[in-house]
């Protein structure tokens, strides 16, 4: 400070640059603030339906269709109770259990088969690779509804109707090509250094997959799990077509159970149970989201 005082030019220089430092700080805070503002603004649009849903689950029918606000006039959980009990022979506990009976095995077989196939596509050279890859991408391009009937007929021949097999077994053969393609793209973006080291360390292909690729792909694999969970939970058409026994219905089907075409609907119960039905998906996502941002390979060696 002293030497600066002796040299006015330097002093003013320093004042100026100190100001710049302060400005930077302020700019950074401002940036953080704007980030929050943007996040909150977008967040409201994102969250609104959920909040509305929860609010509406306490409302009367008349309120639901007139008041767009989400604060109900009373807090009354009977809608939840009623919704949970359902108008069927079973409570939602059964339907949730069913959903998990479909979802969990499906996730397991999906992850295993998709990672394996993606690994092959991304790293190996083999005959017909390009062709198979095109086939894989192509299978996603035909509208599903047109495949519905043929698939139904096929599973009928297999004797799989009214079982969970049509929703689980195909996934065991990497037919959820969305995930395969996704994992392939991820893998192709990851350098091979670690794999080389592991080969030297004596890994065979499967060990390589398990010890190196899987950890490196963790964020992608977690998203596969989350997607498959949420999508399977939400899947309505599959169970609708293949399941006929009410006892086997998953949540997605059971949810729409009490919405006829001509009967009055207790919307509060319907919405209440929709809220409950969303909970597992939300919970799974919330639990998993940490892992999207904790990739193993993000931890490069720094210099």
């Amino acid at each position: 400070m002293n030497s600066a005082a002796l040299n006015p030019a330097a002093a003013s220089d320093r004042v100026a640059s100190d100001r710049e430092a302060r400005l930077t700080l302020r700019r950074e805070r401002l940036a953080a603030l704007t980030r929050y503002v943007v996040l909150c603004a977008v967040g409201v649009v994102m969250l609104y339906p959920m909040i509305w849903l929860i609010g509406a689950s306490f409302k009367t029918n008349a309120e639901i269709f007139t008041e767009i606000g989400f604060i109900p006039s009373q807090l009354d959980f009977t809608a939840y109770l009623k919704g949970w009990k359902t108008s069927t022979e079973y409570t939602f506990a059964t339907y949730f259990l069913n959903s998990f009976l479909i979802t969990i095995p499906r996730i397991i077989v999906t992850v295993i088969s998709c990672v394996l196939v993606a690994y092959a596509f991304a790293r190996f050279e083999f005959w017909g690779k390009k062709f198979l890859f095109s086939v894989m991408v192509a299978t996603m391009m035909l509208p599903l509804i047109i495949l519905r009937l043929p698939q139904y007929l096929m599973f009928k021949e297999f004797g799989w109707l009214d079982t969970y097999l049509p929703m689980i077994v195909p996934s065991a053969f990497a037919t959820d090509t969305f995930f395969v393609f996704m994992l392939v793209q991820f893998l192709r973006g990851i350098p091979r250094d670690m794999e080389e080291a592991a080969q030297i360390d004596g890994c065979n292909a499967l060990q390589l997959l398990w010890h190196i690729i899987v950890p490196l792909l963790k964020p992608a694999i977690i998203s596969v799990i989350v997607f498959q969970f949420i999508w399977t939970m939400n899947d309505f058409m599959g169970p609708l077509i293949y399941l006929s026994t009410v006892e086997k219905y998953p949540v997605s089907l059971a949810l729409k159970m009490s919405i006829g075409a001509t009967e009055e609907v207790e919307w509060a119960s319907v919405l209440a149970i929709s809220v409950v039905a969303l909970l597992p998906s939300v919970a799974v996502f919330f639990a998993a989201q940490r892992h999207f941002i904790e990739g193993a390979s993000s931890s490069g060696i720094k210099g």
Binding site: A197, D201, G202, H211, S299, I301
Partner: protein
């Protein structure tokens, strides 16, 4: 039984670049072979081919007698230290080291013992619980070395394994790696080692033989001292030794006993043995070489005067580099630059003289070399 033999090995990269041009080399079982050569001369490429990480475009690679061209890395019985470390980012240091052993089904207790041994050897016991991203460059490099040595394989491949260590640690590691290699050999579990380095001291002290590469071809393979004193060509001569040998265009003048080399107009009398060998080169241009330590700056230093084949000449001082115990003196001789390397106490007063001043140097011509003028510059005195 892990001799490594390369026969006509070639490598062409995907972009068409030919990195290795027919390399023939036999590395004996248990031998410690060092690869040196300029940056980009294909040292890593060769190592990676031996490891099985890079496909072999031509030639035959044998390890322990078996052709391994198409064998997977894990079947080759090797361990490797990568130039860029390639640590597993998701594993702690301990697991990085233990990984290979675990894969091999080594009992847990032994894995632990070996990992801790290696960590101690590499002075990184305290780092075992860290993740790679929490390591400094040199620490990471030691982990990379550790990963290789815990395995005690048939063939060790080291790609510049000590480049990021400080001199002291490096000297330490050098000794320890050498000892490790010897110990294994003495225990009858000889490991062949192929060691890439750009450090002359490492090359000279560790290598039982040194292979000098340039642009994907072998220039010379020999024991260190031979490489130093009898370089096969000008390239090897210039590459080995630091500061590098003075190699300058020159002309042989005069016959037999009176033959001299003329460098920039200054005549340096050749020893009889050299003169004889260079007879056919009379009046032709060649390349004359002399190492900096064979040019003395203090002619009055005791013992210098009587040296056989000492040629005294007058040079123009350019500048002086102090390197602690020794000093490099740069000067011109008839307009041609030379460097002399002398002990700090044998300066003969050069450091007191200004740039451009004259000074008398002594050339120990008995230690001088002569190379062909063209191409790789074959050593004419061998």
């Amino acid at each position: 039984m892990a001799q490594v033999s390369l026969k006509g090995i070639e490598k062409v990269y995907g972009n068409g670049f030919k990195a290795v041009h027919g390399v023939d080399l036999d590395i004996h079982d248990g031998e410690f072979m060092v690869f040196v050569g300029p940056s980009g001369c294909a040292k890593s490429t060769l190592l990676r081919m031996v490891a099985g990480l890079e496909s072999i475009s031509g030639g035959e690679l044998r390890i322990g007698g078996t052709v391994v061209n198409n064998l997977a890395p894990k079947q080759r019985g090797i361990a490797m230290v990568f130039q860029n470390y390639a640590l597993y980012p998701h594993m702690k240091v301990y697991d990085n080291l233990a990984f290979g052993l675990k894969l091999a089904g080594t009992p847990k207790a032994e894995v632990d013992a070996r990992v801790r041994d290696a960590a101690r050897l590499l002075e990184m016991d305290h780092l075992l619980e860290r993740y790679p991203k929490q390591l400094s460059g040199g620490q990471a490099q030691r982990v990379a070395v550790g990963r290789a040595i815990v395995k005690k394989p048939g063939v060790f491949l080291f790609d510049e394994p000590l480049s990021n260590l400080d001199a002291k640690l490096r000297a330490n590691m050098r000794v320890r790696l050498t000892e490790l290699h010897r110990t294994l050999r003495e225990q009858g579990r000889a490991s062949t080692a192929v060691y890439v380095t750009h450090d002359q001291v490492e090359a000279m002290t560790m290598g039982e033989r040194i292979c000098v590469l340039k642009d994907g071809t072998i220039q010379q393979v020999d024991v260190p001292t031979a490489l130093y004193s009898r370089p096969a060509n000008a390239f090897v001569a210039g590459f080995i030794g630091s500061p590098e040998m003075n190699i300058r265009e020159a002309r042989v003048v005069g016959g037999d006993a009176g033959a001299v080399v003329d460098v920039g107009g200054v005549a340096l009398k050749l020893p009889a043995r050299h003169a004889e060998r260079l007879g056919v080169w009379r009046d032709r241009m060649l390349r004359f070489g002399i190492r900096p330590e064979h040019i003395v700056a203090d002619l009055n230093a005791p013992g210098v005067a009587g040296t056989p084949d000492l040629v005294e000449v007058e040079g123009v001082l350019r500048f002086v580099e102090h390197m602690g115990s020794e000093v490099y003196v740069h000067f011109d001789l008839g307009g041609v630059p030379f460097t002399s390397r002398v002990g700090a106490e044998l300066l003969g007063g050069v450091d007191a003289k200004p740039r451009g001043a004259l000074h008398r140097f002594g050339f120990l011509m008995g230690q001088s070399h002569a190379f062909e003028p063209e191409g790789s510059g074959r050593n004419l005195l061998l």
